[in-house]
């Protein structure tokens, strides 16, 4: 597959790894923001190719992991209504709410359906005019345009049975929180390539200037990530802090203007709670009042839910890159993808799940060695 396979080339990957090894004279801590990038790193064992001096920590780049409990609970409340079809992206189905999840809801007879695209959710609404259809629209900036389009189309067509339960998160505010934190260990960032495809990288340039930290926009294939890591290592070794773009085949400085426009039209920024972290100001998107007819929060009068999140899971620290999944005593020892204790283990993109699925044997070996 063109523009995919070439970026999985073994020789190029090894050449990049070799170059990194030759450049490194000092330990560096790097973070990849995106869950999809974490997935690639784990699935291809990229960290195995890197010299020990380069430590990769995983950021909060998984919208599934950080979707607030309240949102799941609201979705469950809606799914329980008899004449309602709840439509969702696949990854959300197993995320635990306060006392249940959408998989359980389906088992209990709720009409919960999985779609690949918001356009399918619209199709379901058109095909079932006598049912209310609610689309659980989550995601980062990458998915916001598609979700916005669903709302836009619904209004254009007068699809009155269709509404959206939206929960979006924005990357830059979370990164700023990390960068501004006194216990931040991260010295260089791989910015999320598809978020930047939509948004461009001006917001990240601002952070480079403000915090004097190198940021490189990276793609999602092994060669992309290794190249981005090399670019960061070069900067760090040379004492530079600049904005660079590795993912030139998809990302420009300005980003995708039509996509940004529709997000701007349908959504507005708001304070947003990130599961495991807390509320980050202006880090989310909500549907604008003009589109209230298709905002499930409004059309179903969903009350302001407040949910207490219990303690004793280190999810929060994993999401912030302060700890790695294997640092958690519960990892693979009570907390597994089938019975997750925390969000990063539930989502296929979560760091814990990625570690578990692809690297468990390393962890078990290390544990055995350490006694």
């Amino acid at each position: 597959m063109k523009y995919l396979d070439e970026y999985r080339d073994e020789k190029i990957a090894h050449a990049l790894a070799q170059e990194i090894r030759e450049r490194v004279t000092h330990p560096w801590v790097l973070m990849e923001i995106c869950g999809g990038q974490t997935h690639t790193i784990m699935r291809y064992g990229i960290d195995e190719l890197l010299p020990r001096e380069v430590e990769l920590v995983h950021g909060p780049g998984c919208p599934v992991c950080v979707t607030p409990l309240e949102t799941i609970d609201k979705a469950l409340e809606l799914a329980a209504l008899p004449d309602l079809t709840l439509v969702s992206y696949g990854d959300m189905l197993r995320v635990p709410g306060s006392s249940s999840d959408l998989f359980h809801a389906k088992a209990n007879g709720s009409d919960v359906r999985v779609v690949y695209s918001p356009l399918e959710a619209l199709k379901i609404a058109r095909a079932n005019p006598d049912r209310k259809v609610v689309f659980l629209a989550i995601g980062f900036e990458t998915t916001a345009p598609a979700n916005a389009m669903a709302v836009w189309q619904a209004r254009r067509e007068g699809l009155n049975n269709f509404s959206v339960l939206a929960s979006h998160v924005l990357v830059p505010p979370a990164m700023r929180l990390l960068l501004g934190s006194p216990d931040n260990r991260v010295q260089g960032f791989i910015a999320p390539g598809h978020v930047c495809t939509v948004m461009g990288y001006r917001q990240y340039e601002e952070m480079v200037n403000e915090f004097r930290v190198p940021i490189v926009v990276g793609g999602f294939e092994p060669v992309d990530l290794l190249e981005a890591i090399l670019m960061l290592v070069r900067q760090l070794e040379e004492g530079r802090a600049a904005m660079e773009n590795q993912y030139v085949r998809s990302v420009t400085r300005e980003g995708n203007l039509p996509a940004q426009q529709i997000v701007e039209t349908v959504f507005e920024a708001c304070d947003q709670k990130w599961r495991g972290i807390g509320t980050i100001p202006q880090s989310g998107l909500r549907i604008r009042p003009e589109f209230a007819a298709h905002d499930a929060e409004k059309t179903f009068g969903m009350s302001e839910m407040k949910v207490e999140e219990p303690t004793e899971c280190i999810s929060a620290q994993v999401l912030k890159g302060l700890k790695k999944p294997p640092d958690c005593p519960a990892f693979a020892n009570g907390c597994t993808p089938e019975s997750p204790l925390g969000a990063p283990m539930v989502s296929a993109e979560g760091a814990c799940a990625a570690y578990y699925r692809y690297r468990r044997h390393k962890v078990l070996q290390e544990r055995a060695c350490n006694g």
């Binding site: 696949g90 999985v114 599961r275 972290i277 699925r357």
Partner: protein
Amino acid sequence: MANQAPSLTSLSCPVPLSAVDRVLLGHGSGGRLSADLLQRFFLPAFENPALSRLDDQAIVIVNGECLAFTTDSFVVKPLFFSGGDIGSLAVHGTVNDLAMGGARPLYLSAAFILEEGLPFETLRRVVESFRSAAAAAQVEVVTGDTKVVEKGCCDGMFINTSGIGSVKPGLHLSADLARPGDRILLSGPIGEHGIAILAVREGLEFENPVRSDSAPLHSLVAEMLKASEGIRCMRDPTRGGLSSSLNEIAARSAVGMTLDERRIPICEEVRGACEMLGLDPLYVANEGKLVAIVEPGAAEPLLDAMRSHPLGRQAQIIGTVTSEDPGLVVMRTTLGTMRVVDMLAGDQLPRIC
């Protein structure tokens, strides 16, 4: 929580999953949840030596004759898909379960559970497909049953089959016989059936539909048995994909396995679909493929035998059984690094991330 300033040091944690006290869809997926259900309810109730081997079929001795006996239920939705339907699937699935034990399939039973309101034309098509598949596989349907349930209680139709086959005396294949050094053989490209079904079910309008690979494997197995006595165990990797079958064998035999990703055949369309949906083909169902664990010396002769058969043209040696990390299946990736091929928990879902 909403009023607190976000802090990077305060701990907070999502709630643990509530204890599972009812059946979930994931329990049918062929992965870890399915295994749990077996362990919790069925094995303790029906404990006996034939059952506890947990192979795809049971080998029983009746009046000195070695027979293979299997049962299977088919609840596929949609009923019709590219490359087959519930009728042909039912025949192939049962024949294959028998064949995996080295048995020659002889007789089938067919019990139909029909939904009130099912059009006669649909029933006719399925029955004809069943008949045709059985004839091609040279098995006779000797007994059956019909029930009708109310509208909404089954997706059009469910079929349960049982099958009986005869096993050559002395032939013993089982999942607990894999040994370090054994080779792992795969008969052809993976993921076709699962993608074919998913495409129809999720309304993914692939213009050139992926065809299910549903096919009876007993003649391929017969060729393999003729070529060598070195087969330890065979599985047809259906629900849960190649990964589940290999993990099951690794667990039962208490061995490790190392696969080579470069050797695992997959066709372009299945790969494209998996890339698009974020699915891992190792977990996608097959209905016309087998995986065989064989003695090291038997690998080449068996590979040749498989490749001479229409259903084994793209057969490959995909890995080796090891003594490291018993129960763990690992794979050399295309980059030369190692990853774990874990047992799937429940159903694999398309992802957006």
